[in-house]
Symmetry: C2
Subunit: 223 residues, 2 copies
């Protein structure tokens, strides 16, 4: 069985992405980072629960506290407020939750691991259109990363990023996850609460709207 | 003054690269990683000494122990032997010191920092031809990374990697460093010793050959 590394934050998108990789016949290797974000402990629990659900053997959990040291985001800097989700998005304006080049960091770590465990794919649950507008979540970003991979490894090793849900809406992701029996009840999306989801941050806002538009009840608890 | 981040391992190549950035009029911001490599403490001392020499204010030192956790290299796994340097290189064979996608990881961290401190350049002291043959040290690799950067940041921020010594031989690097008054006496290149350089590992081998071919005496001590 061919191995695929899946970036699993513990949220809904990465959970459905893992379900896609499993559906495609890959043996999943799960990768997670703690980077000093507000809901670090809750996200790690969601990661472990989803990994257990899929019986994942290869797991890599790393601490990259340096993103907190570098700062510049409300997810890693307690002095910057996490704003509430709004509709429609202000064009061009990035939310304070943006962590510069975060996906570049995560994919780079996964790439180092991929060559060591001989995994030819990295699955990333990025969503382009129906999202917060982060520049490191676009199809163009991942295309360029794949081109970089073509020049980055020792001969004989090939690596490619797959982004199966990048063009889906949140409602379509909810429907796909339900269809694939992805354990959405084990996921965590909220940016700022760890007991019950706040229901108002941008991540909760997008998730709730997705479930509502899909006509499916969100199985997690809200305040 | 425009800021440039310089990846400073503490070795000769990154020291001369820092000298190039200073010569070009950039305000240098120094970046260093500890990744569980054998000579971690000695390299960190060299980094600090070189930063002091240039009066550098912006310094970022991060621990990325995950590269050790991931393994696959004699620099991070004590059970794999660091081989001696040889001439000529075996074509196609990578030395055991290869750390998969290491430069991808370092550049990604630097890129996150760059957007936060508004530095438009990252200087990397990679050497292509006269080196160990690591795939993440080629001109093509950095070209692809620059193309990725074009699709990676919020609007208005532009970032570019500079590799001023990539096509130089080790002897030319020694001569250039000497000409620019780079503090070569403060640098550390040895892969396996922390008191006096071993003189036989691949890194010492390339360095010593460079000084010899340049007709200049290496100012550091060897066993």
């Amino acid at each position: 069985m061919k191995k695929a590394i899946i970036l699993v934050s513990g949220g809904m998108d990465s959970c459905v992405t893992a379900a896609c990789a499993v559906k495609q016949g890959y043996e999943p290797a799960f990768f997670h980072v703690n980077y000093g974000q507000l809901t670090q402990n809750r996200e790690l629990k969601a990661f472990c629960d989803i990994a257990d659900y899929y019986g994942v053997k290869d797991r890599l959990i790393v601490d990259i506290e340096y993103l907190k040291k570098i700062g510049g985001s409300s997810l890693t800097d307690r002095s910057i407020k996490v704003e509430e989700g709004t509709e429609p998005k202000k064009s061009g304006a990035l939310p304070s939750t943006y962590v510069p080049f975060r996906n570049g960091n995560l994919i780079s770590i996964a790439a180092s691991w991929a060559e060591v465990i001989n995994a030819g794919r990295i699955f990333v649950g990025a969503v382009d259109e129906d999202s917060s507008g982060y520049p490191d979540c676009t199809a163009e970003f991942f295309k360029k990363f794949n081109e970089l991979f073509g020049a980055a490894f020792s001969s004989g090793f090939e690596l490619k990023i797959e982004t199966p849900i990048i063009n889906l809406s949140k409602a379509e992701i909810v429907r796909l996850g339900t269809e694939l029996n992805a354990p959405l009840h084990l996921t965590w999306s909220c940016y700022q609460s760890e007991d019950k989801a706040c229901g108002v941050c941008e991540s909760c806002f997008l998730r709730l709207r997705g479930f509502k538009n899909a006509g499916i009840k969100d199985p997690i608890e809200y305040k």
